[in-house]
Structures are given as structure tokens and as C-alpha cells.
């Protein structure tokens, strides 16, 4: 249900409305599991390879499989070309993505092995890490990795004093009043937070409200993810 509000978002959305979401599973035939997930014009592709032998040997965990995520944006995904290769931002987001996914993975069955997740952003309009995490969760499920549940990710923004769901680039660059606060959050279907970050300026009360908005939004995203997985079976 979308709330009516006086606040005008640049693309006319209601404050708790996400952009159009598309999700497709099984987009990379070579991968063990793969998916595409988009929030409006932000498009992420994730591919899973594994469990497979882990090199170097000293990085192996004798108790359980290791999750290894790599997130990166392709050079032309943004207006100003990004030099190819990893940078500090993509390195951090890679780790954040691991932390967002690992709590629901059951990797005890694969000691010494590695599960590699590769995420590439094909087109960026903010909320790329959230799109990437959503795609990765689908790819892991399709790869047959045992999971306690999926996870679903969304960005909550505060534009001046107004909370909004699913931040676009124009909103990320909001300058009026208190500017923009960006809060990407990942949750399990039963409401457990596996990832949360924030930068901007916000009161404790509004932050609690933001988390509540994320809970509602991730519930909807979860339904879309489930549907994408089911559809992938009919279309083999």
C-alpha cells in the first residue's frame, strides 16, 4: 500500500514505494547459480561458483566452507567512467556483502571448500550494493547452497527530514535542508538484520522508523525473489 504524501520525489514515487523491480534467475549458464536483480535503472548481475576447492590452502577453513564475495561496477555503469579494477569502495562493499549473506548460509557441509560470489553492476542509479545482495541471494539459492532463508536488501533514505524507500541517484545527491542520509539494510524474511550502514545525519527515532520501513519493503522484495526462483524452474 503506498502512502500519500506531500513530499515530492524526483521521479514522482510515493515515499514508501520502490522503483520497478525485475529479478531473473539463471542468467549465466556457466555459473552454478546466477541472477539479475534491478531497482529501476540499477542493474546487478550475480554469479555463484562453488562449493569448489579453495586456493590458497592456508585460507581454507577445516570446519566449514568459506564464502568469498567480489563486488565491482563495470566501467560504463556510471556517467563518469570508472577505471577498471577493484578500488577501496568495491573492496569494502565486497566484504559488506559477505556479512549480509553469510548468516543465512549453512556451509558446514563443505569444509575446506569456497563458495565464490561475483557481483557486477551493469548500470548504476544508486542502491547498487542492495541490488547486488538481492541478486547474490538468488544466485546462491539457485546454486543449491543450503540456506536457512533468503535475505532481501533495500536502501532507505532521508531527504532533508523525509524518509523514503529505495534511494535513486538524484535522491542520493539531495542538497536541500539536511541533505541526504543513505541507509542500506539487509534483512531475513523474519526480520533479522544481517547488514546495515548509514551515512548522513539522523535522529535515533527516525532511524528506528527507517528500519521499520525497511522491514516492510524487504517483505515485498522477498516475494519477488521467491517468484523469480519459481519461474526459473519452468523456463529451464
Amino acid at each position: 500500500m503506498t502512502k500519500k504524501s506531500d513530499f515530492e520525489r524526483p521521479d514522482g514515487r510515493a515515499v514508501n514505494e520502490t522503483r520497478k523491480i525485475t529479478a531473473k534467475v539463471g542468467v549465466i549458464p556457466n555459473a552454478d547459480g546466477s541472477a539479475m536483480f534491478s531497482f529501476g535503472e540499477t542493474i546487478a548481475i550475480a554469479a555463484v561458483y562453488g562449493p569448489r576447492k579453495m586456493h590458497p590452502q592456508h585460507a581454507q577453513d577445516p570446519q566449514k566452507g568459506v564464502l568469498r564475495c567480489e563486488y565491482n561496477m563495470i566501467s560504463f555503469s556510471v556517467n563518469e567512467r570508472i577505471r577498471p579494477g577493484m578500488n577501496r569502495r568495491s573492496t569494502e562493499i565486497s566484504k559488506i556483502t559477505e556479512w549480509a549473506l553469510e548468516p543465512v548460509l549453512m556451509l558446514e557441509k563443505y569444509p575446506t571448500a569456497v563458495v565464490d560470489v561475483f557481483i557486477n553492476i551493469i548500470q548504476a542509479n544508486a542502491s547498487t550494493r542492495c541490488a547486488g545482495i538481492n541478486a547474490a541471494a538468488l544466485a546462491l539459492a539457485q546454486a543449491g547452497i543450503p540456506m536457512k532463508s533468503l535475505v532481501s536488501s533495500v536502501s532507505i533514505g532521508k531527504l532533508d527530514k523525509q524518509l523514503v524507500v529505495d534511494v535513486s541517484k538524484k535522491e542520493e545527491d539531495w542538497e536541500e535542508g539536511e541533505g541526504a542520509t543513505d541507509i542500506p539494510i539487509t534483512m531475513t524474511p523474519d526480520g533479522k538484520i544481517t547488514h546495515i550502514q548509514l551515512d548522513g545525519k539522523i535522529s535515533k527515532e527516525q532511524l528506528k522508523e527507517a528500519v521499520h520501513l525497511a522491514r516492510e519493503a524487504t517483505k515485498k522484495i522477498y516475494e519477488i525473489q521467491k517468484d523469480a526462483l519459481r519461474r526459473s524452474v519452468g523456463e529451464q
Binding site: 552454478d32 547459480g33 562453488g50 562449493p51 569448489r52 576447492k53 579453495m54 543465512v104 549453512m106 563443505y110 575446506t112 571448500a113 539459492a141 539457485q142 546454486a143 543449491g144 547452497i145 543450503p146 540456506m147 536457512k148 532463508s149 533468503l150 531475513t188 524474511p189 525473489q225 521467491k226 526462483l229 519459481r230 524452474v233 519452468g234 529451464q236
Partner: protein
């Protein structure tokens, strides 16, 4: 053809105290929850999920097909698609092999049909001491996801026998998802490969054996 119920990891399959959690499920309070992306199967209140995809789970007694990746002084390392290494010891091949002659018996790149004799902390132990096991000399090797192998074989071999009869090929299906097809002609081998690909594409449907029979009749008319 109807379709079996597809389930998502974390999704509730069924409520009820009577139900028992089988493979790839977990009981949370009175609910049976799936732990994997798969298809639900129920037998007398025992609920299990058959994964749609995922890595091969090696089991003792499985027939597997693999490639020799390393020749040592006392055996061979065989790649069967698992993170753990699979080892074929000198003592597990029929006949006597002189130390130093191992590469002549099986060189790197050779394909073998083997059986898993044992699985322990060190890895997987293979054997080729039994009928139907040994080096593969000709034909085609196909790779499918190991979870689809039961569909390719069918109940009591019904599906695989259907393919063999209709294509006149010898087919050995490794539990690790590697399939060996050997026929009289290249046409026969390609036909068998196509048949297996059809099964993989339609693995989730009920009544697949009848569908396969119809497919063969149609293909043969062409």
C-alpha cells in the same frame, strides 16, 4: 504433465505436528521448513526436498566417472567434481601394476568409470576392481548437474533403458553427473546426447517417461 511443488530455502513446506523433517528440511516449532531450493517429496508424513541443483554429495558405493589429473607412485588422483580429492590406489585396480608403470596403465587425461569404496577425512577412495569399471576408450562425455542423475536413470532404470533402446548406445551414468555415451555411429551418440538434454530441460515434470517415449517417436519420424 503436472509439476511437483518447488520450494525456496526458508519457506514453510507444511504445518503439523505429525510431519517428520527429512533430507534438506528442518523442523521449526510445528513447521517443516526447506533448507534448499528444490522440489518437495512426501512419503508417509516424511517430508524431504530434492535439490534442483547443487554440488555432488559423494556416497560410498556410488559409481562415478572422472579424469586422471595426477599420477603418483602408488596411485592416481581422479577429478570427480568434489572439493575433496578422489584417489585410486594401485591396489584397487585389477591385475598387477609395476611401480613406475602407472602412467602406462592410466595417464593424466584418461577417463575412468570407478566406484567410491570409502570416504574419510583424507578424501575419497576409489576402486575399479569390479565389472563395468575401468578406463573409457571412446564415445562422448557429458556433464549434467548431479541432482538430475536420478531423473536421467529413472525408476529402476526405466529412463536410461528407454534411451539405450531407442539410440542403441551404451550409456553409463556417473552419480557425479558425468555421463558416458558410446554408440556405433556419431549420429547415434548425438541422438543419445540430445535425449539426455531433453530430460535435463524437463526434469521437474511428472510423467516424464511417457513424454520421453513420445519424444523418441517424434524424433524417429524425422
Amino acid at each position: 504433465m503436472t509439476e511437483r511443488k518447488v520450494i525456496i530455502p526458508g519457506e514453510v513446506i507444511v504445518h503439523g505436528k505429525d510431519y517428520l523433517p527429512g533430507e534438506w528440511t528442518e523442523k521449526r516449532n510445528d513447521e517443516i521448513v526447506s533448507l534448499i531450493f528444490g522440489v518437495v517429496e512426501e512419503t508417509n508424513k516424511l517430508i524431504r526436498v530434492i535439490p534442483i541443483s547443487g554440488p555432488y554429495q559423494p556416497r560410498r558405493g556410488n559409481v562415478v566417472i572422472g579424469e586422471v589429473v595426477n599420477v603418483l607412485s602408488n596411485g592416481w588422483f581422479i577429478e570427480i567434481g568434489t572439493p575433496e580429492s578422489a584417489f585410486l590406489s594401485l591396489s584397487e585396480v585389477p591385475g598387477y601394476v609395476n611401480k613406475g608403470e602407472l602412467a602406462e596403465v592410466l595417464d593424466t587425461g584418461s577417463m575412468v568409470v570407478a566406484k567410491i569404496a570409502n570416504i574419510n577425512k583424507r578424501g575419497i577412495d576409489l576402486t575399479i576392481r569390479a565389472a563395468g569399471l575401468g578406463q573409457i576408450e571412446d564415445g562422448i562425455i557429458m556433464n549434467v548437474n548431479s541432482n538430475k542423475v536420478p531423473r536421467v536413470i529413472g525408476k529402476e532404470g526405466s529412463m536410461i533403458n528407454l534411451i539405450k533402446e531407442n539410440t542403441k548406445c551404451d550409456i553409463t551414468v556417473g552419480q557425479n553427473g558425468v555421463i558416458w555415451i558410446s554408440g556405433e555411429t556419431t549420429e547415434a551418440e548425438l541422438f543419445a546426447k540430445k535425449a539426455v538434454e531433453f530430460i535435463i530441460e524437463n526434469f521437474f515434470k511428472e510423467g516424464l517417461t511417457e513424454e520421453m517415449e513420445r519424444w523418441f517417436n517424434k524424433e524417429k519420424e524425422e
